[in-house]
Symmetry: C2
């Protein structure tokens, strides 16, 4: 009856009048088991509500059906989309997902990565916090070299050159967005970029620079604001930008949280996006969408990224010789109105 009955393979074997080896064969669907024997064993397993022990299987098999997912911020919706994509693919292949939150702390991340070693995970998916921390790159490479595949998601890291990656096409997405702003007639275009050391931040800035350059607009450093990935910092950046003698007439925000901070500053100061200023953000924000706030964004499907990442991991888990792979998920510019403006106070 139910779970309480902790039957093991030995007990099933005894009851079915066969050996444990045979039971194991039935469990794992070996083809050379006599049909009658198979049925008899299956019947006993059913009757006793037998569930094999994954722990024992893992120990014997020297590999578990668990993957570790390490993310830097469990408050950011982007990562939930990512996790959703990951779990979606994982569950279909009967893999389970361990979640770890580093809170953008490289030290904590290192400890987590060490702790993960105890459990024999089949693979690791990580958006790293310690992108410049040599220990992070080293330990991840060690995993990879010892047969535990690793896929970097969203961020490159130093020392992780041998690892698989799933990234968004940040440069292109950014380029496209800024081009749109230029098309709207802007010249004083600012970017709120974020934490410099992160590769997506860097790449988005590159796209911004290329868009300006290719369109013959001089890049002015005062319009490039760095901060971290959080809304508060972005709010401050926006404040600084608007206090310039020639404030920008358009703003490109480097991620979802930063869009929110900037947006807040605008609202509080009666600067209406889509009218008084043009604005495009990176990463869609579902909630704004639902309430009908028309923020134009560069959307990258985080769910898609999660799926892709898990698929890459699976490929490596099933074929140890699988070659290194890099996937780039395309972005998509969604214009909802905030990229517009009434008049541009240029010059």
């Amino acid at each position: 009856m139910g779970i309480a009955a902790k039957t093991n393979i030995k007990e099933i074997a005894r009851l079915a009048g066969v050996s444990v080896a045979t039971v194991s064969r039935v469990i794992n669907n070996f083809d050379y088991v006599k049909p009658e024997t198979r049925e008899r064993v299956q019947k006993v397993m059913q009757e006793h509500n037998y569930i094999p022990s994954a722990t024992a299987r893992d120990l014997s098999f020297q590999r578990s059906e668990v993957v570790a997912v390490v993310v830097p911020d469990l408050k950011n919706p982007f990562f939930y989309g990512l996790i959703e994509g990951i779990t979606r693919v994982a569950e279909k292949q009967h893999y389970q997902v361990l979640i770890f939150n580093t809170n953008e702390d490289a030290e904590k991340e290192y400890n987590i990565l060490r702790a993960i070693r105890e459990r024999n995970v089949a693979g690791i998916l990580i958006t790293a916090a310690g992108v410049r921390d040599e220990r992070t790159g080293r330990i991840l490479s060690e995993y990879q070299n010892s047969g535990t595949p690793v896929v970097l998601v969203d961020r490159f890291i130093e020392g992780g050159e041998s690892l698989d990656t799933v990234m968004a096409d940040n440069e292109a997405g950014s380029y496209e967005a800024v081009c749109e702003l230029i098309r709207q007639g802007h010249e004083r275009i600012a970017i709120i970029a974020g934490e410099k050391s992160l590769s997506p931040v860097y790449e988005r800035e590159l796209g911004y620079r290329r868009a300006l350059t290719e369109n013959g607009i001089r890049i002015r450093e005062m319009y490039i604001a760095y901060g971290n990935q959080m809304a508060d910092q972005s709010y401050k950046c926006m404040k600084r930008l608007m206090s310039l003698s020639k404030p920008p007439t358009a703003v490109f925000c480097g991620n979802n949280m930063m869009s929110l901070g900037a947006y807040r500053y605008m609202i509080e100061h009666d600067i209406r996006p889509g009218e008084d200023i043009s604005m495009i953000g990176f990463d869609d924000i579902n909630v704004l969408n639902i309430v009908g706030i028309p923020l134009s964004v560069v959307d990258r499907s985080e769910k898609e990224m999660g799926k892709k990442a898990m698929e890459m991991l699976l490929r490596h888990m099933k074929d140890a010789d699988a070659k290194q792979d890099h996937v780039s998920v395309p972005t998509r510019l969604i214009l909802r109105g905030s990229e517009k403006h009434r008049t541009i106070h240029s010059r």
Copy 2:
């Protein structure tokens, strides 16, 4: 070297010139190990970068340091906070967290709960989808009875009467909110309630009814709208409510997603919350907050709920005789403006 060196306890024992038992004692900090021996063993472990196998430990110990967290919707921000609270407490106690998303599908939930049995999890935290599915209640009770504690979070379920629970004080929170609307002078107050079978929905409706009754306002069923927990449905509910010959002058929304749907309807139809209509939602929505949309809400700290839930689980895991416990997390009415109105078109 690093990870590649898969040393085991036996190898360490050999190298340190002791038995495996002694090494095990050192690992687990037994006090009756001679200091010199301990040091020698530790040195060898260090040098060989030895990491004990959690799998083997779990098999021997017959219990793992992994807890399963089962939630119905990874897109709902409420669960982000919950998961964050859970992981925060879990990691301090060196527990790891397996995440499962049921997508509000009872069938899928049942399969997940069966799959979890394979792994020897130390406990289960669940916001159930199958609240009326007898299998859910049964399998969870079986877990509990066989020594794997279970804590229900946010939702009661049929057949789960023996389980620990962490709930918000939905009735009181709801009551308080509706009282505030009444204080604002409203009589035609609607509630967008959600999926009837869920206990929080039911309890919030109870609070709504009590508030009206105690204030001598007749309850009119046409002002009670049921749907599911999603924004789309809520949008439709709002539409229906506003098409009544005497539409409500105030609306209370049963959860965060539903607040968004209702809000959207209002915006689209130029009904401004806080001016043309009064509105209070259940569950805070951080994003709205950041962008400065002043939605008044009944806030319950989901992070707090997560922490409490994990703490309860730990108590049971450490003391098999711990008594059943029920925790109710208080709610807090946060007024930001949307509860106000300009004029009430009563009568």
